[in-house]
Subunit: 150 residues, 2 copies
DNA sequence: TTATCAGTAACAACATCTATGACTAACGAG
DNA sequence: CTCGTTAGTCATAGATGTTGTTACTGATAA
């Protein structure tokens, strides 16, 4: 009896990489805490477009993780020490989507199952957030090593 | 200083609901363990298309959670007692995608950050799986109550 | 033999994500 | 004060996933 192939688990172009991008940005900023980095500079490091960086920077700024300055000599820097920034804050700053979704059903048995599932999904998301709370930006920077000075 | 609006966290049409759909199906099958349910019947309960159900059933069958039979009087039923099926098995059966993705970067500092992040993402996924291990299908069925007999 | 049902392929519709160009506002340099 | 640089945002294109749907094939019981 033939079964259909597995769903591909390969990386796809439209995948959501905001959380990882946010972490990347903060790691780069943490490397030189006193320097204002431009979005163009950050974008070059991550091989992407400055607008993509600015979108994530905007979310990080909203969460008070970075400060930005316009005009020439402008750019972005960390708003507080990397020691006091956890990956959970980064996650919550850039990602507001649920981890899982339930199909449309509000009544009958499926409705009740959805309520139960949604409760579990909240717990699962909190579990992930707790996991991310365990790592500070400073710890991550230390783990990957400082970038080579030029 | 104006900041862009938050990413919408509203439910969108193309959201991945396979895990929840799989749980729904198994709950319905668990309600009458000895009866073969047709995909059309299951689809009516979930207000969706029989093919959508059969796609998920196919994954569940691959994981030995259900058995199906073709032909008239055919259909699907649980392959083992609902007491011995955890939601973690359902999750792994229908969802092979990572929880998070990293942007393209394999060298330099971003490359190292990606390695560290990917490790954390695996841990986060395992954390979710452990959470789902804590609930059996039987417990879920008991919690939502048996469906009203007609 | 025939009707029923699983299994699958193919396609449309819809939604998100990144990538990109264009525009506005802020702001420092001269 | 003027000008160039940079953040912040909008709009759109291209790629991709997911559901919904039709159509087809194969198995199987009546």
């Amino acid at each position: 009896m033939n079964l259909r192939p597995l769903y591909d688990s390969v990386r796809f172009m439209a995948a959501n990489t905001r959380f990882a991008t946010g972490v990347h940005i903060l790691v780069l900023l943490a490397a030189e805490p006193d320097k204002l980095q431009t979005s163009t500079n950050l974008a070059e490091h991550l091989h992407t477009n400055p607008v993509v960086i600015r979108r994530v920077l905007s979310s990080l700024q909203r969460a008070d993780l970075i400060v930005s300055q316009k005009g020439p000599t402008g750019g972005s820097r960390l708003a507080k020490p990397s020691k006091s920034i956890t990956l959970a804050e980064v996650y919550k700053a850039v990602e507001s989507n649920p981890l899982f979704y339930t199909p449309d059903a509000t009544s009958g048995l499926p409705g009740k199952v959805n309520v139960a599932l949604d409760r579990m999904f909240v717990i699962a998301k909190n579990c992930v957030i707790e996991e991310f709370k365990g790592t500070t930006l400073a710890q991550l920077v230390k783990k990957v090593g400082k970038p080579a000075k030029k």
